[in-house]
Homo-oligomer: 282 residues x 2
């Protein structure tokens, strides 16, 4: 299949089409259709139900920006819950912090298994870290019944269509808020800033029902259609805009990050006027 | 053609594919194949040789970011030269400043004619402004022979393949530097930050041969493949990083901008570490 193309089905009226040279894996799991491709531009790519989830070439932008703004806003996160994120890229970022335990709840064991096999440059040794506790199960069911408390919850989900729908519901955020310690925060991917502005508004509204403070921020994720991606953060108290850049720089100094910096932390929350008007209105 | 798609041919191993509902214009000019489409996501789009140049829906990001960083770094730009930019969107941004004269040199009269006819929301009344001097001709030939001096030169060109190749050559930048006043700057679109990092390095090297100071900055332009676009700036003296945010905010306060802000000016030059390493190395 040299010179073949795959077209990301995620975007509605805009799609990203990527040249691929080889399909490394294909599997119909109980939850989704899972493929791994090799591409000249981004290296290996995980594709779920036709939508590119992560690639070796640009995963760092998405995973760093889902992990570090929330974790660097919290004064000292020790216990972190990840919902989704079966490729391990987010887990790997979280483990760079001096955490005691990271619980990861992924609904589809195939994503973990296939990522460990084919996407070792993304998950690295994260699944073998003694601080990692992997739970295969439904994220909403988990937060309903767990009695554990977390300093931060990070939600790395696909779009709300399909198995992830429950992770965008008000009930989910309400349970998450109850499972957080007093300085706790949740960060979620809240969709494309180009073609899912409705989703961003919905996420902000649902977060706002459970958290006193809601902030939306942006990162560029090249392999996603439209390129510009949003994340939203609900906080019980700490405001990411009040985080001290010098303290952030010190905390991440040895992490070897490729996208997130102390200055980018603040810049990411500084939405361009057209988006501020669109998104904050809801 | 309801539900038809056009695929941007610009990107090599990545393309952006956009749903279109109607073709409003089609013409083989002496320089390129020109089309105008209507799309549900971005409104009307100008397409040259199969590559999306500008759209009603996201033109402001590109045009504001090509115009205002250079113009806000200059203490008081009065005379500005635009090379290319036949759709008029950049011209319209420049005319928001208290300039005396904007000379625009566009090689293809068809781009101006068709944009005035179909893309009125992009060029607005810019071509009718008494400060506008439109020259139909080759940009390289123009800077070779003109004896005028400019405070800023802005280069809004397609990729170096095709009629714009000369606008990326060292000779072009050398002529531009000689036509600038002592505080003068040139800003150019320097290609995708996702798949044209070679081009960014080349532009920086060529600019560096003519200017003592070279800076690269980024903006997200959703309709372009990969989303993340680079611009590079050559300066005879003024450093954009030294521009005072309060002074910028005052200058652009009444412009009604949708992307560029005083804080974004500085954030745009703050490249993520992975790009700083890639691009600044050349």
């Amino acid at each position: 299949m040299k010179g073949a193309w795959i077209t990301d089905q995620g975007g509605g009226d805009i799609t990203a089409t990527l040249r691929v040279t080889r399909r490394l894996h294909e599997e119909r799991t109980p939850y989704q259709y899972l493929e791994v491709y090799e591409s000249p531009l981004f290296g290996r790519m995980l594709v779920l139900d036709g939508a590119v989830q992560t690639t070796e070439g640009d995963e760092f932008a998405y995973h760093e920006m889902l992990a570090h703004p929330a974790l660097c806003t919290h004064p000292a996160p020790r216990r972190v819950l990840i919902i989704g994120g079966g490729d391990g890229g987010l887990l790997e970022e979280v483990l760079k912090h001096p955490v005691e335990r990271v619980t990861m709840v992924e609904i589809d064991e195939a994503v973990v298994r296939v990522s460990r096999q084919h996407l070792g440059t993304i998950c690295r040794r994260a699944f073998d870290d003694p601080r990692t506790a992997l739970v295969i199960g439904d994220g909403l069911a988990y937060v309903r019944k767990t009695e554990d408390r977390f300093d931060a919850v990070l939600v790395d989900s696909p779009d709300p269509q399909g198995p992830a729908a429950g992770l965008f519901a008000p009930e989910f955020y309400a349970h998450v808020a109850r499972r957080l310690t007093p300085d706790g925060l949740v960060a979620v991917q809240s969709g494309s800033a180009v073609y899912q502005q409705d989703l961003i508004r919905t996420v902000r509204r649902h977060l706002g029902a459970a958290f006193p403070l809601v902030r939306t921020y942006l990162a560029t994720v090249a392999a996603y259609p439209g390129g510009l991606w949003s994340f939203s953060l609900g906080s019980l108290g700490r405001d990411p805009l009040m985080a001290d850049p010098a303290a952030i720089a010190k905390r991440i100094g040895e992490f070897g990050l490729r996208y997130f910096t102390a200055s980018r932390h603040h810049a990411a929350f500084d939405l361009p006027p057209y988006l501020r008007d669109e998104v904050a209105a809801g």
